[in-house]
Symmetry: C3
Subunit: 355 residues, 3 copies
């Protein structure tokens, strides 16, 4: 694990008037680059092989330059290239996946956010410990033998929604489970999914105050899951199963939505609790995070997961959302990240938001 | 019921250069306050206990001040507070529910819109009379014994979508109905739901002309219903029923959408008919209203309900919708309400839009 | 078929400083007129009988004038009226349907885009030839006797989604098919639908380069299909069928969405292939087109249809989309069409984009 001192030392040689924001060319990079440019930063795209051509179609979001790697696993050997460009990495959901968790933890490049969060977020047991200590209601974990209603079976570190299935009883569980995989069985919460996009700032003073900073909610989305979102046109899950077709939950995109305003106090209290607990557990989560929830017909909100970085659902809102428009116009999560870096620079507190 | 004269008398003592727009802190208050501020009005949030903290996260939508009540039922005893601040109440969907229908009708505070609409809207029989007299196609009311296809069973005054169920025959009806409740059985219209957000102005002269004013359509949405929108991942409604799980229709949020442009003449004619009939029945509905419809595969539009005030679906569009953008940019329904009050002030006709 | 020479001759008498953009008052006309006005063009609405009143409600999108016809079939006899106004027709999805394919092909009025595309797009066999030659993955065509999994049965020239059905085996096929109609049986691709809105410019040089022009992706949507999108609240397709209720696929509107950024290279390559193949097959498709796809849980993209003109899904974005915002702000597909005409005029190359 890279230390605070190491990052601090690197930063001492940075030219703060020529900072560049760098990320891997995927996931939410369009809005990260677009937002960084709007706040006056240079931008660097990290890619394997040739720069992706699709940026040519989106000139406002095309990075100023590219750092080309043979493999994302090589980034640790190329830190000099980043450092000489005064680069700050902005990790997104695919960044860690591509670079590898160990590489990411050890990467000697200043990185937006607190890298300690990774440990707590990527392990389902620690994630649950974090959220439950925060007083968050999660779906109950169930012993397979005790299944007596619908459950969601999740494999460890499922990527993009692959590796989930729903079982309605122990027989269905046994029939479908892969015993060689590490899995968790949770009660299936009947309701509708909402993904809330928060931003925690340890620096901004005006706003929704927490013990040591402020909390924003910039937007929300619902993920589009292939093939679960449309398979029911063919038949009920039981009929499909009999025909050998199984619903899957791979995320292919996102749809925008808003929640009842009367839910907002509850939504904010969830964000608040998670941040406060992160402060005591590991020094605090910084910047964007997402609570992945189900809202039930009793208007309860069950949190089934947390993402401690920018999520792809924010791609719906490169020029503002029905919520961020009440903060300032044209505010994406990507831009908000750039604003935080700019604020830290102006307060001479970059070390507070980088790791 | 408060009289025209009483409101008129109150208004005589108002300082028209310092009007304030007040509403209860919930439902669609963020856009009502944001819109009012954009039109130059002061804003007052009404809340129980402490002001909701979530406004701190949305500075552009935070009211200038709060009037704190012990209970919304106390508002009738606090009219002086509102009057001394030159307040105009903007009732939203939850306002009447919180304050109580009788209290609302008698409230001696100038209120946007025509309060007489409440009688017609809150009673399913009168609502149907209004809409059918207007020539609107509604789902047929069915005698339970005559059920021979899917029906929707609705209890009186169901709030936020609770207290509905679908039955496909008389047996299912009998099994599920609560005979102690006041209910209505309607044919279930197979199609997709559209909620059209209209605005009727008795003052504006340019636009889509009706007999005495103009009609706008500012946006549309589809409500997200928990758990009906996602429960079918578990099984068909029949399979779920056998497992003791029932779909419910509690609204938790809204998704944006647009309708085929070729439907617009029909959509506008529905809005037109409802307004014209309201003019002859009770002096006219003023400001925002919503027609809650199902569009069938024959491209018929069946109206199953009307809301005679701002609906929460408009929360999707605080900075404009795919429709209001053709009127002017950055136009929310909340802002449109403030514009109407401003126009009435400038024309010296506030009494025409307040009650 | 009208010839290049005929159009060229007509254009020679046009006053290029007073061009007008004309289209039929339906489908996507609001954004076409709004976009044309933003680029400085006059606008002409073509309608049967009186001008539709709904334009009065959308002043920014109301055409400057109307050309009223008794029937759209009469337009060929009224070309003088269009020519004297220096009109350029912008055909949208309903335009060809209303005017008739033969009339459209022969219409002696300068028309945006390449009319030769119609032949390839409106005939399912030629459409498939085009797309498969381009290397696009389409759902397989299946011999009815060989059905051994879910299939989609489509009738020729189905309008707005009517005339499709899903069968899971040969028996279901036989039971439901109308043997008097011309039909095609395709494998049913299990996944979620995405409709990608592209724009091909033979003139613009900056951007995502193809062999002879540039490609943009302005937005995407998912169509709302009545009654298929909500019918499963009543029961599974099998249960519904037993009850004599059949899902239908009539498009009534559209919802916005975004796709995973990691899909974009694939999405663009699909657009690229289709354009390149169109260049060799018939001189190239010009302007807006839409690929109608299913994204599977393997993140494959299967194209089930192409529309070679502006689609109604773009109506979601009259002031920009989460994608076009990275090109320039306030950019609709309608406006993009007007920009292309303006650019052609300034380059003195109108003949390159008109036919």
């Amino acid at each position: 694990m890279v230390t605070e001192e190491q990052i601090s030392e690197i930063l001492q040689n940075y030219d703060f008037d020529n900072l560049a924001i760098a990320t891997v060319c995927s996931h939410s990079s369009l809005q990260i680059f677009d937002g960084a440019r709007k706040e006056g930063f240079k931008t660097i795209g990290i890619c394997v092989g040739n720069p992706p051509k699709y940026y040519d179609a989106f000139p406002k979001a095309k990075p100023d330059e590219f750092i080309i790697v043979d493999s994302y696993k090589d980034i640790p050997n190329m830190t000099d290239k980043f450092i000489e460009k005064n680069a700050i990495l902005v990790p997104h959901g695919s960044f860690v996946e591509y670079v590898g968790a160990d590489n990411f933890a050890n990467l000697k490049i200043p990185t937006f956010g607190n890298r300690d969060v990774l440990d707590w977020e990527s392990n389902r047991t620690k994630e649950r410990e974090w959220l439950e200590r925060a007083g968050i209601h999660m779906p109950r974990v169930i012993n397979p033998q005790d299944i007596n209603g619908p459950v969601m079976v999740k494999y460890q570190g499922a990527k993009g929604g692959r590796g989930f299935f729903i079982a309605k009883n122990y027989e269905e569980f046994k029939e479908n489970v892969d015993p060689n995989e590490n899995y968790v069985v949770q009660e299936f919460i009947v309701g509708t999914r909402y993904y809330f996009h928060f931003f925690y700032s340890p620096l901004r003073e005006e706003g929704y105050k927490l013990s040591k900073g402020t909390l924003e909610m910039l937007s929300m989305d619902r993920r589009v899951e292939s093939n679960a979102d449309e398979i029911f046109r063919l038949g009920s899950s039981k009929e499909l199963e009999d025909a050998g077709i199984n619903p899957t939950y791979v995320v292919t995109g996102n749809v925008p939505l808003v929640a009842r305003e009367s839910l907002l106090p509850h939504v904010f209290s969830l964000g608040e609790k998670v941040v406060e607990e992160s402060l005591s557990l590991f020094g605090g989560m910084i910047g964007p995070f997402c609570l992945e929830t189900v809202v039930t017909d009793k208007l309860e909100i069950k949190v089934f997961e947390i993402s401690a970085r920018i999520v792809a659902g924010t791609n719906l809102y490169p020029s503002g959302s029905p919520y961020s428009d009440f903060i300032e116009s044209d505010l994406s999560t990507g831009r908000r990240i750039a604003q935080e870096i700019k604020l830290a620079k102006s307060m001479d507190k970059l070390e507070k938001i980088l790791s």
